[in-house]
Symmetry: C2
């Protein structure tokens, strides 16, 4: 028997962090959320459920709604409101993705054709607007002005972050601070709101609300840092995604910010040519990655992510030990260890 | 003295209906609304107020916020909430315009370069999203779930209408019914919500709410019908706008629906070539207008608008005579007589 226990321990130690615990804990709730998403994306205008269904079904991890569901459970919430709010969060996220893909001229997302590649930019813009509006209708139906305030403010911050990203795009002089502000707005604000809402529906004290908000915010920053790192990593192609999308678009992410600032005159000229002027030839991406590796830019992007991940973990310190807490802590590890 | 009175009467009879009475009645309130709009479009991301300021300052008639302000006054409302809600309505409208211009690839709006022509489609999409979010934040600050329900539902209906328009675009078989559904959603729903909200803030009985909603809905349909007619009218160029924008885009509006259905085989082939296949040469627009005139399509579009205008007028029948009511009745005349 002792041997069996040891084997289990070994397995759990060596096992890579995943979203499994989170998914297992939220099983029925997530099924209900998926049903709500499906029901509320319906419209007599057939193109709307077609296009929305394409991007929503394309999957993704449903990370944000999982956070709302688990945060509510962590706060001992026993009602049903967290399900509609989790669906709301996913609608906001999906609307943002649709507009993102238009703005980035992307053809592929998660290995599938993007909605704009299939139905065109116009349809993606308008169906995105529809999903935004549906998100607000769902929140209004929930009826809490506090929740409405949190999620409508997050939406405005996301839009601000997207515009800020557009403005800093192709500018190799972008500072780490400016980059951080972009990802705090465009990604982390929704993670923060998704988590905070869990405490709000459970009517928990302010300190728990703030703890969950801080967890979400820092997790979101770590998540985006790793995402941006992966775009230059061989690990990305193992995950079935293309490498170098950000490079080809001239997006300025932390690996670039670090490599540019740590490089000499000649290297900076390389980054300006490829990312500002977008004059790229076939060997440029490989050369860029080489420069990043030379200067430890990818390694240090992961180190920065680990820093925010550590803050996220500590934010949960005030909650008592429970399965939900462990699952949320594992999300942090999962987000960072995707790097390897 | 009698002569002076007669002269005044003559002048008021011959004078074209305008928005003057509406603007005079709402003077200070509209100034406050413009200040609110200016304040709430601010952002540390400089491109946002620049781009939003361009389209908001470009003017337009502020027809929708004027309706909210006047509907509230008609209902004897004496508070301040109608101002922020009027600003909300204008934000929703402006966000829609930004996305419309992207979807239509428009270069000009009200004789000025469109935001997408100046700053590109990407910025227009994202700043539109920002203004949508700001609109929701303003509504949330108002704090009425009923108002939130009305305006968030209107937003979803607008988006549905825009998608429906995209789907029927370039389809000459579009029925009058389908066309009406598009304009009811994309234009009239916001007019209806803008007016209804006036009764809601004044806490008036349901019958008055519904009367104002019906007034707004039918006014909005009449407004859009005349707009679509003007696109084929010499009157449009007198107003300093270009003629034939809808034709060049292959948009199916009522003048086309009527001319197509009333025309013979050869004429239908003409409409299919120009609007479905978008194969147009220089003389086609003039020929199209000639066909519309031959079949009374423009005249009858105005007649249809007059029908909805009449419904809008009668909807106000339950309100006692007062300056606000007269101003709202004049808006109906103004919307229709723009045709001449």
């Amino acid at each position: 028997m002792a041997i069996v226990v040891n084997l289990d321990e070994e397995r759990s130690k060596s096992r890579k962090p995943s979203l499994e615990a989170l998914q297992r804990l939220t099983g029925d709730d997530l099924t209900a959320v998926n049903a709500l998403i499906l029901r509320h994306m319906q419209s007599p205008v057939a193109l709307i459920p077609q296009l929305a269904g394409h991007i929503i079904a394309a999957g993704g991890k449903r990370l944000r709604p999982l956070l709302t569901l688990t945060a509510a459970r962590l706060c001992n919430y026993r009602g049903d409101r967290h399900k509609a709010l989790a669906a709301t969060v996913e609608f906001i996220h999906t609307a943002t993705l649709l507009h993102d893909d238009v703005v980035d001229d992307s053809d592929l997302r998660r290995g599938l054709a993007t909605a704009n590649a299939v139905w065109g930019n116009k349809a993606s813009v308008l169906v995105g607007d529809f999903l935004f509006s549906r998100a607000f209708q769902l929140m209004v139906a929930d009826g809490s002005l506090k929740v409405l305030d949190i999620l409508s403010s997050a939406s405005a911050v996301i839009a601000e972050g997207e515009v800020l990203q557009l403005v800093t795009s192709n500018d190799t002089e972008t500072s780490e601070q400016a980059y951080l502000e972009v990802i705090r707005c465009k990604t982390a604000a929704l993670f923060a709101a998704a988590c905070r809402v869990g405490a709000v529906v459970a009517d928990r004290p302010k300190v728990e609300e703030e703890a969950l908000e801080s967890y979400g915010l820092n997790l979101g920053i770590a998540f985006q840092l790793i995402d941006d790192m992966l775009d230059y990593s061989a690990r990305q192609s193992e995950l079935g995604k293309t490498v170098g999308d950000d490079f080809r678009e001239g997006k300025i992410t932390l690996p670039v910010v670090l490599a540019y600032r740590r490089g000499g005159t000649e290297e900076r000229a390389f980054w300006r040519r490829t990312l500002e002027e977008l004059k790229q030839d076939e060997s440029d991406l490989a050369h860029g990655i080489e420069l990043m590796e030379r200067h430890g830019a990818l390694r240090d992007t992961v180190a920065r992510a680990a820093h925010y991940g550590a803050i996220a973990r500590d934010a949960l310190g005030i909650f008592p030990d429970c399965e939900e807490k462990h699952a949320l802590l594992e999300v942090v590890d999962f987000c960072i260890e995707r790097a390897y």
